[in-house]
Symmetry: D2
Subunit: 361 residues, 4 copies
């Protein structure tokens, strides 16, 4: 820290990188953009000029800066593991976009290093920062609806992502549903015992990839808790992210944000504003909050014990179990995932992790 | 009462008459339709055949029936006073559509007779039976929002009534706003000290009658309470009847009923169902409730002290004051109405009260 | 028909019987209560006195009445099959409460007789008459949201029924979920191929019966359609009956009815009225509508082809499949139900069908 | 402009000053905080250290900086006129908090200078930047509800401001209602012909100042348009800012923002989140928008013709007319304000304008 301001490197200058840069600008009384890193030297130089910071194509240049406190990794998915390990080994606090890795062994390795290092380590499950889902959790924690019996997550994307993205997305289970499984854990602290998935594919291009675009997953927990997640790659009426919780004493619901509070009543009915169009509209505030909280933790040198637990390992298994259930057309026990994984092909991102390849996420 | 069932005459077989007949059918374990009365003998005979009761064109025939317990008067407005007096003098319980009369002296006379007679006497201010406004009053009475500081009534009709009706309606103040002034009294028990009205007329046919179709009235009360009523002869998005109350500790609102609870979300927004189209849709249950409660009161021989008070006299003055304010373009004190009434022409129904003239309301 | 009014017998004078009697009173210009039938002679006589009709303890007395047009069967569940067959064989139109029978062979027999007889035959799946679900279906049929991809039914009872009722209810699948499976058919016209159920039991008394009180069912259809139903024997915040449909072009939702439209805003938030407390509050209008439509069909001698199809047979299989899935902890194909039924014990009402046993439902 | 970034001075480092500083931080790729000005040298120095800019107690120091492009004036109300004139005369673009002045002659003078100067000149009527009111205006402009007939503004503050603030607030008409009169103009482009106000005071401390805390104003326009504004110094259920517009073809409503989208249903009803607590929660985004738009205008050297019209002069008359109506207990014509102003005492801020007095607003 120089002058009480955190010194930060942003690695990967794609869409996510620019979102995080904007957050850092808002936090400029607390943090300073010291480095921007991108495989494309021209991009790195251009962005560095705007933010008056240093540019490089090699993350190690930034990591070698003794004044650097923290790294925000938002480069391509397959680089997350490698860059995270390098940064942790260089004793820098790390914020990395999800997923850290799809390989359970790599996940375990990163978490072991992070835990031993006592460094702040955060992952971009940014829905945990959503003000509505936090308000929902607060209601559950306060006992407003008693013990929780049933949770229904609705998580429908809009607009349908481009085919190029979908090809490297890791599939609907690892790209979308993992967020909902993480949210179920956020709300309850529990992990499921079994999952059952059904799916259908309306878009022939997605079907051709061996993926599907509409999924319902049912989860059963040891406590008796039941949960469902329904997801769709497209919800043409707007991004749709809702959660409903039934408890012994009542029901709590977190509903969508809408573009405005304006309603127009005419002879055709009462028309309310669309829900937020897409994830940037709905979740923009969460991207600021996650970086603001990361900055606070690093400044306070106080890693969040919740962040560095093994939940990433277990939630990866849940996600893979959900995909296996869909492929096998049967209920799958989380305990059986490791064994099944070797027998049944599941989605991967295909491609080894290399340094100095495209960084933009 | 014969066999424990109330014996009832329905006077005037227009729209209101048929609504009350339908209510009596639903109440057939408690009340019996004994007579139907209408100037048109054919109409009376036809309706009597359906309901298996006696028919006449002369209300006195029904009143002469010693077994008759109660009379429901829903004939033309200008007959209300005369028929009510005859029925009360014949010792029958009376339910009469509003207004009893526009003449303050007649109003006083009816109320004196009703009070002295100890007969059940009810008037068709049916909004007092609306389940939503009763739920609102219950909240106010329970102290949920503390002492009341401001009330805003919205009362917009739909569809615009036919010109023939408007010509004999008595004008927007006596036809529509009197219901809202009654509702303000129902909710608070208070009468205003001053009123101020502004209005505009969009329909040239209504303007030609010397009436207007869009009005805002502001009322000031001795307690400090302020109230507004806004009204329109047309609200093309559906019948609109809402009340909002601001209190020391909060706000209570009674909103519209809608045709269904269905919402459709598309790329154009969230579309909710229309509000109930017109007064029959919104208030049908109140017409049943008012007759059910009238039947109960008559069976229990328990006149409602609230119903036969002088509120009708005072509310007539408030209504006339509101019209005078609009015409005079200034605030009018209720205390000045009787004096002004002689100097400024106000709306009347034009025409003396006669018996045996058209009965259908 | 006498004097153009339908002559109707009501069989079974329990809660359902009184609801149907009330409906018939409201329809008294179109139908006449001719007979009431109940095993308890005193009950039958008392009710007959109120409605000025004939009483008997033996349904055959009523069926022998040549003037009788129609029979409404709302006696105990195990009598439905027998009474329906007698009435159809006596050439009377039949309205019977559900279920007709839990025995597939009996179901087939009744439907064959009904179809051949050309008599009006209706069953009490009264949610099909709910104005909100009809409005929802109208939206789907109009194409407002395009082709349907996902349906989510929420169907939570309140208050928890008494243990005595639950013991003879046939279990949560046959007592509650069959209504939702019927609703899914009502909305889409499709039947599912597979079902998967998870359940939990919070009430130990219900668990002791081998039943559960909280269930989530997932259904897969040949068209690609996915559906979920979540149900609970108790929803302490009020009866909860909602449906959400995701289509290619949007989403449609039918929400709950509330006790009033009043909202109270205080420092603790905005408090809206409770949803309707229990099924009578929510569905009372449907009980009137189903009888009104039955009366119209009988008067017009126009059986509803939809009512007498084999859907009852298929939906019984879907319901049994859902129960089997819960017991077997795996996905069950509808096509496998008949085979499984012989191997796995499922819920029954235990007890042969006898005539002249308690009639009240 | 240096390096394409606007050079800005912030004058007055109270609450408003800090809000504007925060906005400028977010806009740091477009604008640079060059000077902070406050009478309190220590405050100025401390804030300058955080933002790495120059500090002074004398606005003229900043105005003498040839590189300075724009001034944001958020010092005490009585300094607005003087500082605005100095800045305009120094050829700087000006954003000033409202009111510019309560003196009609001063208002005219500022506007004349601003119009002749061709400099960007903006005032802090920040509600014009509210996304909901802009969405409402967009609906009106699109013709969604046809020609406008009635507008109802609800504008209730929360929590009640401290007495010290109220003493120098200029009274409820000039402090609160002027915003609503400006909003009515924003939505319609029209100015009223007459106003009528009623008010009551519940807080004895406010009454002792000769002010009131609860007001209803009715406005009449030449076009026939009617409008009401109801306002209260306190709305304990949360800040309440709503607008409802009735048009020929429908109704449009802009409702409150709530703290979250979470609803909790229990046996006591459905509880939705509170509305935003106070004006910073509701309007924070508008403070960013107004500065962002000011920065864009200055960079583009494109004064908004709407901003520098004489609307400030007319709206000051409307506001004064509303206060006069309340004091005189009668309708007041806007055309009569200047004459009445000399005869009837109205609220002022008491105190001559001096330079180098406390700057914090």
């Amino acid at each position: 820290m120089v002058d009480g301001k955190l010194s930060v490197a942003v690695v990967g200058l794609g869409r996510a990188g620019h979102v995080h840069l904007r957050s850092l600008v808002s936090l400029s009384t607390k943090a300073r953009i010291a480095w921007v890193v991108d495989l494309n030297a021209e991009t790195a130089a251009r962005v560095a000029a705007v933010h008056e910071c240093k540019a490089t194509t090699d993350i190690d240049d930034a990591l070698a800066d003794a004044d650097l406190d923290a790294v925000i990794i938002c480069s391509a998915t397959y680089t997350h593991f490698d860059f995270t390990m390098r940064a942790l080994n260089a004793r820098k606090a790390v914020f990395t976009e999800k997923p850290i890795s799809h390989d359970p062994a790599e996940l375990e390795e990163v978490l072991d290093v992070a835990m031993r290092s006592n460094l702040v380590f955060c992952t971009g499950y940014q829905r945990r920062c959503d003000k509505n889902f936090r308000a929902l959790k607060q209601q559950l924690d306060s006992g407003a609806i008693g013990s929780v019996r049933l949770i229904k997550c609705t998580s429908r994307d809009n607009p349908e992502p481009p085919i190029e993205y979908l090809k490297v997305s890791g599939g609907i289970f690892h790209d979308m549903l993992c967020h909902d499984f993480d949210m179920l854990h956020f709300l309850t602290g529990e992990f499921p015992e079994t999952v059952y998935s059904v799916g259908h594919c309306y878009n022939p291009q997605i079907e051709a990839m061996g993926d599907c675009d509409t999924v319902v997953v049912t989860l059963k927990y040891a406590s008796g808790l039941l949960a469902t997640v329904d997801t769709s790659r497209v919800a043409c009426y707007g991004y749709d992210q809702r959660i409903e919780v039934l408890g012994e004493l009542g029901m709590a619901q977190a509903n969508n944000e809408h573009e405005s509070t304006v309603t127009v009543a005419t002879a055709r009915g009462y028309v309310g504003a669309k829900s937020a169009f897409s994830f940037p509209e709905r979740y923009m505030h969460t991207y600021l909050t996650e970086i603001a909280e990361f900055v606070e933790q690093v400044k306070a040198r106080r890693p969040d014990p919740e962040a560095v637990t093994r939940r990433h390992v277990i939630l990866e298994k849940v996600t893979t179990a959900a995909e296996l259930s869909w492929r096998l057309k049967r209920e799958v026990r989380i305990a059986d995932v490791d064994e099944l994984r070797d027998k049944v092909p599941v989605s991967t991102l295909h491609g080894p992790v290399k340094t100095k390849v495209p960084l933009a996420a």
